[in-house]
């Protein structure tokens, strides 16, 4: 009762900030919240990575050595959910929080308390996702969700306690994403510095803006789908049960209506970030700004009308197959525009190859492979063979590790000097880059081959003929996984730059940096752009 009126002394002009842990629990500052998002993403990256290393070790040779199929199924599904929802998406939101206000000259995100809520919903959601593993140890339930991240009915209707936990975890993650998206949209629409028209907006902000629209359009559909799943499980409905007039394929439609745009949700913020990095280290302006913005919009629109290419083999009518094939392939046009612009940005530039630039280059090459193999999968006839094989696994890891995680690493190395005030350890960064890119290809390139040879995904055991490639893949995965400790160490080192004697970063930490964040000191003051800059 009295709470509503206890704060009259709090004028918004003289702030008092709680210290210690309370600072982080209560913060309304976009930099604090961005830091929390990024650290949470890093922690969950290792959690999800540890899960899949266990899976890869099991797959080192045929037969079951390390775990039973039940645990295997749980690990692959939770690995995917953790990496997508608890690592990649929070990392991108961390970038948005830190960078969008700095880059558009805004004093903060538009709705700071909502922003804090968006972050603090993540730890409970991650807890819900992983708690069933722990509960199973105490004899409660049969472990985490074991359906794969796609939660296909009827398996998920029949699944155990873990499915319920996953459903509510997805609900809470969804609320978090929607709050974050609303914040991004409002910030970009309403808090741009005077003179910054939409067509002067940094490409990064454009990428995030389209992402935010996609999230608002599709996350609620996923929420609806898992709600129907919940009522099918516990309240007697027949949405996904043919015995009651429903259809399991309906779940696939609903899931992938979210799931395909989700790929672009994960990637668009990074496609927005890459041009900045390329321009900075080529010492040239971004090439084809308008073309890139229009491509983002085109990709955003196309991404919500192509979903059924994820289940070509489910028994769709032929006209639907053709429609989804052609619409899917048409995405390659705006994507090709992006690739062209990225390369043209570097063309005849005074290029230098600091760590973020290396990661950006790796991103372009490997993400190119993801795009080309995606075209192969979009072909209905070819997909009949490749569907549910390791070819698909390899394809989407080229998209989501090389395109997603390496994009995040590009951004982290690029902006760490801005955030911490110290330059990164280049030697360590380059070592991390080379270890990552070599072991990544060692891990996933063989999976294209076993996939083409017919090895199905999501199976803990396999035929003897796939043994060599799987062994190579597991060795690669172990190197890849443990190399990431270098990444964590490098971030730690940069954050404690003074103790490690790293050079201080200037405001314009990279000499070619042109966007607004480089006008501020490194690190920027707690409240930046309280007086907005004027653009031109």
């Amino acid at each position: 009762m009295s709470h509503a009126t206890t704060a009259p002394h709090e004028s918004h002009d003289h702030a008092h900030y709680p210290g210690g842990i309370l600072r982080w629990l209560t913060t309304t500052n976009h930099k604090d919240i961005g830091t929390m998002y990024l650290l949470f993403a890093l922690i969950m990256f290792f959690v999800g990575g540890a899960m899949i290393l266990a899976v890869r070790v099991e797959l080192f040779q045929p037969g079951l050595q390390l775990m039973q199929p039940e645990l295997f199924n749980q690990l692959i599904g939770v690995h995917a959910l953790v990496m997508i929802f608890a690592a990649l998406m929070p990392a991108a939101t961390g970038f948005a929080n830190w960078q969008i206000p700095l880059m558009i000259g805004a004093p903060d995100m538009a709705l700071p308390r909502i922003n804090n809520l968006g972050f603090w919903l993540l730890p409970p959601a991650a807890l819900l996702l992983t708690l069933p593993f722990v509960l199973a140890l105490f004899g409660v339930g049969d472990g985490a969700v074991a359906t794969g991240w796609t939660l296909y009915a009827p398996l998920s209707v029949q699944g155990g306690l873990g499915v319920d936990f996953a459903i509510f975890s997805i609900h809470i993650l969804g609320i978090s994403s929607i709050l974050g998206s609303i914040n991004v949209i409002v910030t970009i629409f309403n808090l741009r510095a005077p003179g910054m028209t939409m067509m002067k907006l940094p490409v990064f902000a454009w990428g995030w803006l389209i992402t935010a629209f996609l999230l608002i359009a599709t996350i609620p559909v996923l929420a609806g789908a898992v709600t129907m799943l919940l009522t099918d499980r516990h309240f007697g409905t027949h949405f996904f049960n043919a015995a009651g007039g429903g259809d399991p394929i309906l779940f696939q439609h609903l899931f992938w209506f979210f799931g395909h745009p989700e790929v672009y949700i994960l990637l668009l913020p990074l496609w927005g970030l890459i041009p900045h990095v390329l321009a900075t280290f080529s010492r040239k302006p971004i090439y084809g700004y308008r073309a890139q913005v229009y491509s983002f919009i085109a990709i955003g629109l196309l991404s919500v009308i192509v979903w059924a290419h994820h289940f070509f083999t489910a028994g769709l009518p032929v006209p639907a197959l053709l429609y989804f094939m052609y619409s899917t392939m048409s995405i390659s046009l705006p994507l090709a525009v992006l690739f062209f612009c990225w390369i043209a940005t570097m063309w005849k530039g005074s290029m230098s190859f600091e760590t973020p630039m290396l990661f950006a280059q790796g991103f372009i090459v490997l993400f190119g492979i993801a795009g080309l193999t995606g075209l192969v999968l979009a072909d209905v006839a070819a997909d009949a063979q490749y569907h549910h094989s390791y070819f698909v696994v390899a394809h989407f890891h080229y998209a989501l590790f090389a395109g997603g995680i390496m994009g995040v690493m590009t951004g982290v190395y690029y902006w760490l000097p801005k955030w911490t005030g110290y330059m990164i350890d280049e030697k360590l960064g380059k070592l991390h880059f080379w270890l990552t890119i070599i072991s990544f290809n060692l891990t996933f390139m063989p999976q294209f081959f076993v996939g083409l040879a017919g090895m199905p995904r999501r199976i803990p055991d396999y035929a003897l003929q796939f043994a060599e490639f799987n062994a190579i893949s597991t060795v690669g995965a172990l190197i890849l996984g443990f190399s990431q400790l270098l990444f964590a160490y490098n971030i730690w080192k940069c954050a404690k730059g003074a103790e490690y004697g790293l050079p201080k970063a200037e405001g314009r930490a990279w000499e070619g940096g042109e966007s607004l964040e480089w006008e501020l000191p490194s690190p920027p003051p707690h409240h930046s752009w309280e007086t907005p800059p004027v653009i031109k």
Partner: protein, 292 residues
């Protein structure tokens, strides 16, 4: 760096003080979800955890909104912040539209694809998956072997009346808004009161209709996919009407206290937009669930 912001002379954007409420709210949501999972799977603690979680959420909402109202009344928000709230509310409603789209999508899918497919399987194939499916018109066709016989809900009784009620409530809230713009407080309060009353009567009718469906029509959530789509769509709509009515009551209370001016009344408009949104969803429901 110049000191002018395009459009308004205030260059200082209101960034609120640190707040513990978001953190507590997320804790409350966790406890509520955890309790619900335990409850559905018949573990003991479920209801108590749900109660605790729900109580926590109510506590936070009361205080958080209280703080926002206090900030608003003390003049912390000006044109710049006001615009943020408007954008925020618009995109929040957009996400709600997408949520309902999932259930409408499911309805269209089962009516146009899965139920007709199940029916065409019947006589023409050697193997019949579900011979119990009868070649009937929707909605009985969505009955299936597992569901008991039921009578679908007619459109022209209570549902038509409910349509009239909600449309009228959309008109009364607009009438209240006009009053607010003209600073006519009596008409504002009356308009809000009528809107709330219409909303509550609507909910009463919905409750009666559910009772009627379960006790007399045999129409349950398990009554084939028709029952599933019927109750999920009308249920989530009813839930949103309930939320809207609570929001209206808060606005009504504030209006009685003399809050809102003809220039500055985002909260009123936000709630009005939300109310129109549930209104439009209802029209979709009336046409596609009850009528056609």
């Amino acid at each position: 760096m110049a000191h002018t912001n395009a459009g308004s002379h205030d260059t200082h954007y209101f960034v609120p003080q640190p707040s513990i409420y978001p953190f507590i709210l997320s804790g409350g949501l966790f406890v509520l979800a955890f309790g619900f999972i335990l409850q559905m799977n018949k573990f003991g603690l479920g209801p108590w955890l749900m109660l605790a979680g729900f109580g926590t959420i109510l506590f936070v909402l009361y205080n958080w909104f209280g703080k926002v109202i206090h900030e608003s009344q003390s003049g912390a928000y000006r044109d710049w912040e006001d615009k943020s709230f408007r954008y925020g509310m618009i995109w929040f409603i957009a996400s709600e539209v997408a949520f309902f789209a999932a259930f409408f999508g499911a309805l269209f899918y089962v009516r146009n694809i899965s139920v007709p497919d199940l029916l065409t399987m019947l006589p023409r194939h050697d193997f019949t998956l579900y011979p119990e499916f009868k070649d009937l018109m929707w909605p009985q066709s969505g009955q299936g072997p597992k569901a008991p016989a039921f009578t679908p809900m007619g459109a022209w009784g209570i549902p038509a009346l409910n349509t009239a009620l909600l449309l009228t409530s959309g008109a009364t809230i607009t009438w209240a808004h006009w009053a607010l713009l003209k600073n006519n407080r009596a008409q504002l309060n009356l308009g809000l009161f009528c809107t709330i009353a219409l909303g509550v009567v609507f909910l009463g009718f919905q409750a009666y209709e559910y009772h009627h469906a379960y006790s007399e029509l045999g129409l349950t959530m398990g009554a084939g996919v028709y029952g599933a789509t019927f109750f999920m769509l009308t249920g989530f709509h009813g839930f949103h009407v309930t939320l809207g009515a609570i929001m209206l009551m808060v606005i009504y209370g504030r209006s009685l206290k003399g809050h809102f001016t003809s220039e500055r009344h985002f909260a009123f408009e936000g709630v009005a937009w939300y109310w129109h949104f549930v209104d439009v969803v209802w029209l979709g429901l009336f046409i596609f669930v009850y009528w056609l």
